[in-house]
């Protein structure tokens, strides 16, 4: 019997052939921790009597969730992270952007890798064919000392995405539709392999959006086998070391195979307060909104900004609406500046913020909605309180849908802008 992509990667990192269901100890290629979760991994490192990092090249700290620091608590955590780097080494990024964008952009995550991060959306790197899973601070602390962790090798669900994506429909719509079909715990403890002609045609930006949301159906990782698109992207981003891409065997054993034909898919929107509350946009058009966000590690990449700019160019957002744009990384921001996208947003009436998690997690203190207000966002979670106010309502959608909606001041179908 052949191996799934997850089994291949785990076998390589365990030094023997392993199968789904086994508990193994595996070597890690990188470990990431950021400024939001407490106890921070470096407290654990100390508490566990760590004296040196397993390998300074593998340990990456990223200040992104609360950057620039909105308050003294955050500022002091940031200082702690800088001091830790001074003393112990490792790599620290500050203000470069959201961890899940920075890790692949800076060449820390490569095809065939096994990576952990103290953040649930660590599964994003599945898009480049790395098995990457979110863990907590304790696991990261242990990993920083030992360079390895225990894992249960997951079973894999294969998701075939077939058909032709209609105009105005994007990766975000596809993944919201998938999550609505399999539910928020439809893939718990499992790995997902996204495959099929639609995936083959997707750019890396689109693939990142897909893999990013794998955790919203409970999955441990959302993998896409590396192909030429992957390798070109990786090579354009200065890989920091040699890598060894893996692909699944044709006769691999899957716990389930599901096919999604996206040929007739509508734009998808997830209603409050669950990510699997996704419905075709026809059910929601006309719902008044107070704010639109293009932000987060799900969809604030250059292609997302291009799509939104195409809709917004030369137009103004509806009166009384707030529109927040947070490019996900400095690389994205620089490209957006060069392509003049930022001026399109600003002219339309947007508030633009420096790359960070602003506009996504609740603590970021940027764009907190008022009671009863409705926000439509390109983010990945619509949980009650996610944007800092439990009495607000959050809808998840594609960058195109958010852009179309801020123009009208209500949830609007973006397909009208893609007819030609």
């Amino acid at each position: 019997m052949g191996m799934t992509l997850a089994e291949k990667i785990f076998s390589k990192h365990a030094g023997r052939e392993v199968k789904a269901g086994e508990i193994i100890i595996a070597d890690l290629d990188a470990m990431m921790t950021h400024d939001a979760n407490r106890p921070v991994a470096l407290d654990i490192f100390r508490e566990f009597k760590g004296t040196k990092l397993c390998d300074p090249e593998k340990v990456v700290q990223i200040i992104d969730h609360h950057f620039p620091a909105p308050g003294e608590t955050n500022a002091n955590v940031h200082r702690q992270m800088r001091q830790f780097k001074e003393k112990m080494g490792g790599i620290l990024y500050e203000g470069e952007g959201i961890c899940h964008m920075v890790m692949p952009e800076k060449g820390h995550v490569l095809p065939g890798d096994l990576v952990v991060g103290s953040d649930s959306h660590t599964c994003t790197y599945g898009a480049i064919g790395a098995f990457s899973a979110g863990v907590g601070s304790t696991d990261i602390g242990v990993a920083m000392i030992s360079g390895k962790l225990w894992f249960m090798v997951p079973e894999t669900i294969k998701m075939n995405i077939v058909g032709t994506l209609p105009k105005g429909i994007f990766a975000k719509d596809v993944i919201l539709h998938i999550i609505a079909s399999v539910t928020a715990n439809g893939a718990t403890y499992k790995s997902v392999e996204f495959t099929g002609p639609v995936i083959d045609s997707f750019s890396m930006d689109a693939r990142f959006t897909l893999s990013n949301m794998a955790v919203e159906m409970g999955a441990k990782s959302g993998l896409i086998a590396p192909d030429q698109t992957t390798i070109s992207w990786v090579e354009n981003h200065r890989p920091r070391r040699k890598y060894n891409p893996q692909v699944p065997d044709p006769d691999a054993e899957y716990s389930q195979e599901i096919t999604f034909d996206v040929s007739t898919l509508s734009p998808y929107v997830a209603k409050p307060h669950l990510v699997d509350n996704g419905v075709p946009i026809e059910e929601l058009t006309g719902t008044p909104i107070s704010q639109g966000n293009i932000a987060s590690c799900t969809a604030s990449r250059i292609e997302d900004l291009r799509i939104a700019a195409k809709i917004l160019k030369g137009k103004k957002i509806a009166p009384g609406i707030r529109f927040l744009v947070v490019p996900g990384s400095k690389e994205v921001l620089q490209t957006a500046l060069k392509e003049d996208l930022i001026s399109i947003f600003v002219d339309a009436g947007a508030s633009v913020k420096s790359p960070s998690c602003a506009g996504c997690s609740g603590g970021a203190s940027f764009g907190v909605p008022a009671n009863e207000e409705v926000v439509i966002t390109t983010g990945n979670r619509n949980f009650q309180g996610r944007l800092g106010n439990p009495n607000a309502y959050i809808y998840l959608a594609s960058p195109a849908t958010v852009a179309a909606s801020v123009l009208e001041g209500k949830i609007a179908d973006p397909r009208q802008y893609f007819q030609k």
Partner: protein, 165 residues
Amino acid sequence: MIIKGSAHVFGDHINTDYIISGKHKSRMTDLKQMAEYLMEDIRPGFYKEIRPGDFIVGGINFGCGSSRETAPWVIKEAGIAAVIAKSFARIFFRNAINIGLPVLVADIDSIQEGDELQLDIDKGKIKNLTRSFTLTTTALPPFVQKILDAGGMKSYFNAHPNFDL
């Protein structure tokens, strides 16, 4: 170990933002202080209802959402002895084991708010003293049980820096 306490029943998909919202988590570092906001957005004042040794009972996918280890920590700091649910989200489950908070899978449908429960962790039995029935919990994989028995990853890792499987 045998623990007695009352059941606080929550529904399906209790996510980590509900357990401890980002709003509170980002402005304090003290877990004891944070524990006062446990489930604040969905059950205001919950912290005050808890007596040490009580249980949280949840439905499917308990602890879904973020990787914040503060989620199991605040539950533990609030005095909850164990979480019993139909199923757990992966990262929450792992974090709970790592910090030594027992997380048990059982068919909890028949447990109601305020029921007095008696949990025998070693035998994997939950006795409902209010309604006189007994539930069996799903056994943990032996390696995971070892971490929990050690009281969490800290003492486990101190004793086994190379993770003996």
